[in-house]
Amino acid sequence: MTEFLKVEGITAGYGDGPAILDGAHMTVQQGKVHCIIGPNGAGKSTLMKVIAGMLPVRKGEVIFKGENLKGLRPDQTLRRGIAFVPQERALFPKMTVRENLRMGGYILNNDRERDRRIDEIFDRFPILRERADQHAGTMSGGQQQTLAMARTLILRPEIVMFDEPSLGLAPMIVREMFAIVRMIAEQGVTVLLVEQNAVMGLKHADWGVVLDLGRTLFEGPAQEVLHDPRIQELYLGGRKVA
């Protein structure tokens, strides 16, 4: 097991507010799909924001390939190869699909290289080529999510993080989203996923991380997590989980 990204004892919160994460940890293995699950308010999105550098770390460490990411801004983590799609998808509604993709390559200094990579994206996601000159805000939810996910690939990241890519999408479209996640992972990109629907998320993942009340309850191979009795208790029963 390669030590790729390691999150240890993270405490973090918004502004001067209470700690949302309170000692969370997780291990991330290169090239695998990791699914973070847990009830509402467990700190799943917050964990992603911490890794992306959008929220300061109060305690603990995020180590990526031996480097501590503490104190880095989002653009700095991006340059190191960590891309993030937040829940609200972070598109520019009044920019075209092509312009959105160009923004995805904003930190590339070579326009020709950027446009070549956009062409590659179009080859992999033909629907985006079809809609290239359409405003992103006028596309369907599934297409917008596809664009948001595809946009991260322009920078050829090592890790992509998707916060609830299935949110608000019809079941059939959700399956497409997970197919895209698989495809991205097969290219050797490490994927972190937050998923409200635990069963669905774990089925498509290699590794599962269970958060509750800002702490990591346990983590392990997705299949084992999926069948762990503690999951049943967490979602259906009270909070007697040790």
Binding site: P74, D75, P86, M95, M103, G104, Y106, I107
Partner: protein
């Protein structure tokens, strides 16, 4: 028929100038969420720049336009650094900027009054009082030149926003600030640059208005309401909307002035503001307000 064409031409001439006056205001609101009530007072500062350049050295206001643009852009950088940068994270930023820019407007007005007195001024290059004649229709050269230069500048601005790297960053920041930051845009630098450009546009608009309207330091109070109505009607932050609203309302105002009475023509802008706020508060090109 001739009179209708004549009035339309006069309206278009004014519309071009108003469009430039409003587009800087719209840009600054779009990117920074700053409701810049000081914008017209800075336009007057630009007008004074052109006025003194002509009066002292005989430099054409269309040439002084570049000086006014750069001078005001520099003032914009200073204002941003002093007043706006440190407060950018405040939750009540937009509300705060209303009071802040109101105060800046009064300071600019006072400073201009102290330096140049409160007399009415107008820059008077030869074309300011000249006109082209097409049969019985006359086209005032001053308004024609001002309108054309305005359109040229707005065209350049649009091309800059559409194609340049900074333009992409400005548009992205306007539409989704957090997303732009996530993709590596330095949103604070974008804020500073768009504020400087917005205030620079006020300088350019000032140089043009200096030979179209007579002005004095307190004149900006008349303009702020007119400009706000243009920006609100266009959809706050939409430069395209501001331009369309400027032409539409200026033409209507010209007709009201010609057929109802010139004292009523300014009413057009206020009436439009009321109607827009009542029936289409997001403006012509604005986003529908979110339900949340």
């Amino acid at each position: 028929m001739e009179q209708i064409i004549q009035v339309t031409i006069l309206g278009i001439g004014l519309g071009g100038v108003f469009a430039l006056m409003g587009s800087g205001l719209s840009l600054v609101f779009g990117v920074m969420r700053i409701v810049n009530l000081a914008h017209p007072s800075l336009i007057i500062a630009g007008a004074f720049t052109a006025y003194w350049g002509f009066r002292l050295w005989g430099i054409d206001p269309l040439v002084m336009l570049s000086v006014a643009t750069l001078l005001l852009a520099a003032i914009g950088v200073l204002l941003y650094k002093i007043f706006f940068e440190r407060n950018a994270k405040s939750a009540t930023y937009s509300e705060m900027t209303v009071l802040l820019t109101f105060a800046i407007a009064m300071i600019v007005e006072g400073a201009l009054g102290a330096m140049f007195s409160n007399t009415q001024r107008v820059t008077s290059p030869s074309y300011a009082t000249d006109a082209f004649f097409l049969g019985d229709i006359f086209i005032p050269k001053g308004q024609l030149y001002a309108g054309m230069v305005s359109m040229l500048i707005i065209g350049l601005l649009a091309a800059f926003l559409k194609y340049s790297r900074l333009g992409y960053a400005i548009r992205a920041t306007t539409q989704n600030r957090d997303a732009a930051a996530l993709l590596g845009v330095n949103v604070n630098m974008v804020g500073l640059m768009s504020f400087a450009i917005g205030i620079g546009l006020a300088g350019a608009a000032g140089a043009l208005t200096s030979f179209v309207f007579s002005f004095f330091p307190a004149k900006h109070w008349e303009w702020i309401a007119v400009l706000m109505s243009l920006v609100v009607m266009g959809g706050m932050g939409s430069i395209m909307g501001t331009v369309v609203a400027s032409f539409a309302l200026s033409i209507v105002a010209a007709f009201v002035g010609a057929y109802v009475g010139s004292t009523w023509s300014t009413m057009t802008f206020f009436l439009a503001l009321f109607l827009v706020l009542l029936f289409r508060p997001q403006g012509l090109f604005g986003e529908k307000p979110e339900l949340l």
